[in-house]
Symmetry: C2
Subunit: 457 residues, 2 copies
């Protein structure tokens, strides 16, 4: 029987499962700069707003209805709702909600949305066991470091192959963070990473359906359960990440091990986290920013004959849907993003409502957008020219869209975004108190005092 | 930024997600031969014995301890134990137990162990909702057909790459079977397959650790939850299996679509299921059978100077560990299998106990086994020569080991195996009644009457 039994071996693979486990178990609390610690709070604030804001979405309804068939114990909060469920189910549902609006954070080097899997698992476990805010923030920094370093190691091959890298690395970050919260030693942390390594979640084909936000939720639940199982002595391969038929070499042909090991404990990937000003795929953001700038320069939709868009090929590959049928599809349409930017000057969740997406003027405006590929333009940039009915051409080039690493959202903008998401759910006054509590998370005695503000009354 | 954005497109991919969904939702009850229906009962009996037998293993203890941290509702039985947990957790733990001894069933074309993911999910759901035995058997045949057809499509490339194909196809069979049990229509069944498609579980590096049996358990839980979510309207891509960045093309470069669609509803893969007479990796079985035959011919371990073994290269690749340190490792050691066959004439769970594996005479006998690769020998065959101290050479060639498709275990042998597993847990009398109840499953009014016999008193 003829078989290909060749192993994609890399005998130079360092023992990264063990290296990461020792790092997660042993790195000192707050063993990083104030800037890193502040970025952890920004990451948490932004994630929480997204989860609260999408708590009433039909994806959360459906997932929660399925979970309730398990008659779960009321261990942890479903953010933005009154239901309480077991901590693993809370990790799942909050992970889904936080990514439902595609409005969460982005580690731009890998297009990973790191908080969804990691923060969702951590908050559910921390609430159940009454962890301190400092323990939560420490676990968040370390968990995100694990996910994003593994992402750096495999990107872009792993993503190009078809994996939704958020869910296919997120279970490792969630496992690492939960192991830290559970105070597991390095050996058990290594087992938690190993159990999680068998559970990557997510294919890119799911983009535009509820299963896309399922990916961070599923990864959160998988990582949390992996850590709980390891805490009780469940075993996995100590080389589950790096072995020839372990995680990395099975799901990626590119594995730059030094991305995991280099400057570990000195450089923290959460420093490279960014927050979306627009509620859609990150590669659309420059186009929205540019069209909002056109609007700021006085260009009105009814004047426009054509919008010429020059973008990197990845933009059309990911978001080339010119005729989106609903809000979820529109989040992956650079055409809708441009139409929203020009029409409203913004593109928050409201501008992706089904009714807005199907408005005749929006349909018409999308059809006036002509996108061409120019790979000399970075995927974080865009070149836009509005051709008006009177023959005038108005040109905008966006090098770094708002929300990028070079042009980040300020804390005040993050608060504004949070209010936009959470005010309709919690009311403005409680939302304000919740934001304050989040900024003070690092010194909170018990995360439960923060979480209880995220429940509507 | 240079990127490989090439898609592994196969524009000839038929809509297999939809085709399988229509098949699972629409195929008539018992729409197959009596032989197929009997094979479904054999599959169920064999799976149940394995799950009951391993119910007290430390892997089940650790997994159950983690699950109990969720304070689960008592919805479904943990087989062979008194604990009851929510149905998703029961699917997980029973999936783990049934594969812990590596003693379950094997679809030889793909090395998939199909019952672990599928039966574990189905029984938990069927028990909770009070399904009939006929509904369970129907769902078992259809679910296993889905897993194994997808496996046929991708094997061997997918397996060779590193995936533990049992868990990386099993979530689809579990989702399909549970969708059938829930009486979902074709559209919702398609969504269940789609949600499950994002959740392949398992890398081969985990072989020899508790995370190997976690794979069927995790796949069972994933498939069950996917079906529950779909029943409440959760959506996924309708092309989640076949799209360029869907499941199949992300996890395998070989995708022979006709393996899914050909003779669908006429040929049933469960007909090709086999049951292990030995509690270890299937490729070791010919070696054990041959050495047991040597023992039958009067060869005694103390006479042996050397055992010459000629095997297919895959045998040594999968089970080439000459110095296993414990029972789990010994299950992946053809050397230990041969030593057990010659010493005991059998290799059930007892012969893989840590104490047996570490006995000095077993260590010594393993070291006398000299294995060489000969790829002219099928991986289901073996050529063994015992060289004795007096210079005699005793030769055995096994073409089809006991338990293979050509030389299957009889129903009576299956019952004997079941007693060996379950008697220590349930007692011989109850075990006998449980076996009877299983053979009558297809006409049982409520599966709960069967399940309650699997609980120790």
């Amino acid at each position: 029987m003829a078989r290909n039994t060749e192993v994609a071996a890399d005998h130079d693979a360092p023992p990264i499962t063990q290296i990461l486990a020792q790092f997660v178990a042993g790195h000192p609390s707050r063993g990083w700069s104030d800037a890193v610690d502040h970025e952890a709070h920004r990451t948490f604030v932004n994630w929480l707003g997204c989860a609260v804001g999408a708590a009433q979405h039909e994806a959360a309804d459906a997932a929660l209805a399925a979970v309730r068939m398990l008659e779960p114990a009321p261990q942890a909060t479903v953010l933005g709702r009154k239901e309480r469920v077991d901590m693993a189910s809370a990790a799942l549902v909050n992970g889904i909600s936080s990514h439902t609006f595609d409005f969460d954070d982005t580690h731009l080097k890998t297009i990973i949305h790191p908080a969804g899997p990691v923060a969702s698992a951590l908050l559910a476990l921390a609430e159940h066991q009454g962890s301190s805010g400092r323990e939560l923030i420490d676990a968040l920094v370390l968990g995100i470091d694990v996910s994003c370093r593994v992402g750096n190691m495999m990107y872009p091959e792993h993503y190009d192959r078809g994996w939704h890298i958020t869910g296919s690395t997120g279970m490792l970050g969630a496992a690492a963070g939960c192991a830290r919260l559970l105070k597991l030693d390095a050996r058990k942390t290594q087992m938690a990473l190993g159990i999680a390594a068998s559970q990557p979640v997510g294919m890119r084909e799911q983009f535009g359906t509820m299963t896309k936000p399922f990916h961070p939720g599923g990864a959160a639940r998988a990582g949390l359960m992996a850590a709980l199982m390891a805490s009780h002595g469940y075993t996995a391969s100590p080389k589950a990440l790096e072995a020839p038929r372990g995680f990395a070499q099975t799901v990626s042909t590119k594995n730059d091990w030094s991305q995991v090991t280099g400057e570990l404990g000195q450089r923290f990937e959460i420093s490279l986290n960014t927050y979306k000003p627009f509620a859609c795929g990150i590669v659309i953001h420059p186009g929205i920013d540019a069209c909002a700038q056109l609007r700021g320069q006085g260009v009105r939709p009814e004047q426009v004959e054509r919008i010429e868009l020059k973008v990197h090929s990845l933009v059309l590959e990911l978001t080339g849907n010119k005729e989106p049928q609903d809000g979820l599809q529109a989040k992956f349409s650079v055409y809708h993003g441009c139409a929203a930017g020009l029409t409203f000057g913004r593109a928050a969740e409201d501008e992706f409502a089904d009714e807005v997406v199907n408005r005749p003027d929006m349909v018409a405006l999308r059809r006036k957008v002509v996108a061409t590929v120019d790979d000399s333009i970075d995927e974080a940039s865009v070149d836009v020219t509005a051709v008006l009915g009177d023959g005038r051409r108005v040109h905008v080039f966006v090098e770094h869209a708002i929300g990028s690493l070079r042009n980040p959202m300020t804390d005040a903008l993050l608060e504004g975004k949070f209010h936009g998401l959470a005010d309709p759910v919690l009311g403005a006054a409680v939302t304000g108190r919740l934001i304050e509590a989040c900024w003070g998370m690092g010194s909170a005695a018990d995360v439960r005092r923060v979480v209880e503000l995220a429940v509507p009354h």
